[in-house]
Subunit: 387 residues, 2 copies
């Protein structure tokens, strides 16, 4: 399947039907969407305009009937081009009442069976609006319980459609091709910012729409963390450099990292590289329908523990992936989500070694009927060399 | 002043001292930070890792004493490199208790004078954590009122230091130089995505760290909205194209747009272009210490109304700018914030015309002792031509 932009109407109708069916199971009269990835998922609407925190936007999905957009006037022409036809606006910004009374009215008019409205209140969710205004809407809706809709939303989003998988696969191909082109464009003496700019330019050439995440960090003989950087540090012989990438195509992310050796690395790093590479193999081999993220984590940990590892500090060994860089579930003990075809996961073992150093690998897979399929071009067993 | 990366320790100490002084005025025992721009402002800590919604991070600023970071273990090496020295961690993700009991303990131990703790609860603010967990912390802190710290935070962030202004100016120069290079790189027949990719590549070459916002939209004879796009539409002769840009240098944004004519545009568009250009001039002329954002809006509206305009639908005519694409205040009737030296504003008049078309201009200025200084290279009076 080729990754086209956007989705057919039938895709949104199917998402809405699944949401409505789940609302009955979970005893919710409606759910309210405020967060950009959920807006994109249910309405097919995306705007970078949400980079501005000034105005909240609401999408109400009732248990029966059509979605209702409650939005700032500025958004009307854009929403009118989506499949959402019931659009109510207010002239935001309007500091004294930015959507509060408009939302209180829509929720009061919503047919009531259970007296419960779901919001994005739980795990890995944020309500994109001032909490003082959320409290005001909650107070205005006396007699209605505000419940957590996050489990319902994540249940839907966790299993990707073929059209969604095609977009993630395209993002992964863009990332893989850009990584492959990178070693020849880098050299000793570049600083981490120059590395990041070089990689950004290559990703843009390869067709990335946006690059919301790019960590670049290097250290002599190895790196000690993976979430801060790039910094002004220059690459030197003997460095190990880590790059982690979250780039999008049509809103869908790839999320995978690569390690680079500046010249020769020491034996301990080389040995650790091989262990983590084999742990990744074990994680990929374990990914199949019926397995759990806890199983995947155990498969990876087992390889590293057999080799004498005492663990890494990143807290989990991969996660779901889609409209966000990370999504549920998490590859860690205790996550007993049952994997099924269509789920997209990162396989991300990490290992501490030496004197405060760490090494992290990552690939992206989609669960299939009988196992999984690699979406990224598998990292070479030995690190790429620079210079 | 040249824009260096990062800030001196004294800059953070000054921010903390101002925050603590404001806490006394506003009767708060501490404020709690969760949002990335506020983390960056007070701790000097930035990570794209927050693109992942899985883990909350907390920074507690007590009314006296040092800041306290309450964070996932994965963040410790990064925070240890900042000026924040009191670091408490928990091994996130930990779904059953992701920071809730850790935060309840820190807040219970916080010296209590007023019995009030400030959170990012109000205007143009979002608390970056699950609201169900926020409710749990609130319930666990009986006897402590959770109050809105947003006015305090925005009061501090609204007036930029010379070092902050230098970074915004550099972002504006990167954006200005990239815009100037663009017309020669575009041609009829490119689609909006190709335009966006070309501009992204040029911005990256010019030194942009990230490009969180780039709207590209074109229409025959004019465009009808400014927040959705790029799309797959091809540029054709007679089109007017709008690009709006939010690019960063060291975390600080520029935010300004430009209009492009594909060949010749009609008389009405040409006439409107001149009106909006003159409205921008009036906005820049009005920007000085002692004026209010309402005054700036009135100056711009006056030029457009004199020319027969009936208004635009974007709700305001510019806004503050800094660590976020848009910040308070807003150029609109009712915003009586008194402008003072160091505030950075966008001057952004927009006007409806013809059959559902609109035209929007934008420049960035910093308020000085005796007026304002343009940070962007002023747009030409006539639109840039393509092809």
């Amino acid at each position: 399947m080729t990754a086209a932009r956007g989705f057919e109407l039938s895709e949104f109708e199917a998402r809405m039907a699944r949401a409505q069916s789940e609302m009955t199971v979970r005893r919710l009269d409606a759910i309210v969407i405020t967060a950009p990835p959920n807006w994109r998922y249910f309405a097919g609407f995306a705007t970078q305009f949400w980079e501005s925190p000034t105005r909240p936007w609401f999408l109400v999905l009732p248990r029966a009937g059509e979605p209702i957009a409650v939005i700032p006037t500025i958004g009307e022409p854009g929403i009118a081009k989506t499949w959402v036809k019931d659009i109510r606006t207010w002239p935001a910004p309007q500091p004294e009442d930015d959507g509060v009374s408009a939302m209180a009215k829509v929720l009061a008019d919503c047919p009531r069976t259970y007296g419960r409205i779901g919001w994005e209140m739980g795990r890995e969710s944020v309500i994109r609006m001032p909490i003082a205004d959320f409290d005001r809407i909650r107070a205005a809706c006396s007699g209605i319980e505000f419940a957590d809709a996050s489990p319902l939303i994540w249940r839907l989003r966790m299993v990707k459609s073929p059209a969604e998988i095609a977009k993630i696969e395209r993002a992964c191909r863009i990332g893989s091709d850009a990584y492959a082109a990178l070693p020849g464009q880098l050299s000793d003496g570049m600083n981490e910012h120059e590395v990041a700019r070089t990689f950004r330019a290559e990703l843009t050439r390869q067709g990335a729409d946006a690059i919301p995440f790019m960590a670049v960090t290097a250290g002599a003989g190895g790196y000690d963390q993976i979430i801060v950087g790039p910094n002004d540090r220059n690459l030197s012989p003997g460095d190990v450099m880590f790059i982690d990438l979250g780039a999008t195509f049509d809103g869908y992310f790839c999320d995978f990292d690569r390690n680079f050796a500046c010249g020769d690395v020491d034996d301990e790093t080389r040995k650790t590289q091989d262990i983590v590479w084999r742990a990744t193999e074990a994680g990929i081999a374990a990914a199949c329908p019926g397995a759990t993220p806890a199983d995947l984590a155990a498969a990876m940990v087992s390889v590293m523990a057999d080799a004498g590892a005492t663990g890494g500090n990143v807290g989990r060994l991969g996660h779901g992936l889609g409209l966000q860089l990370t999504e549920p579930p998490s590859n860690m003990a205790g996550d007993e989500t049952v994997l099924e075809p269509g789920m997209v996961m990162t396989i991300e073992p990490g290992m501490d070694y030496g004197d405060g150093k760490m090494l992290v690998h990552e690939e992206n897979v989609v669960i299939t009927e009988d196992g999984c399929r690699l979406l990224t071009t598998r990292a070479p067993r030995e690190m790429w060399k620079i210079g």
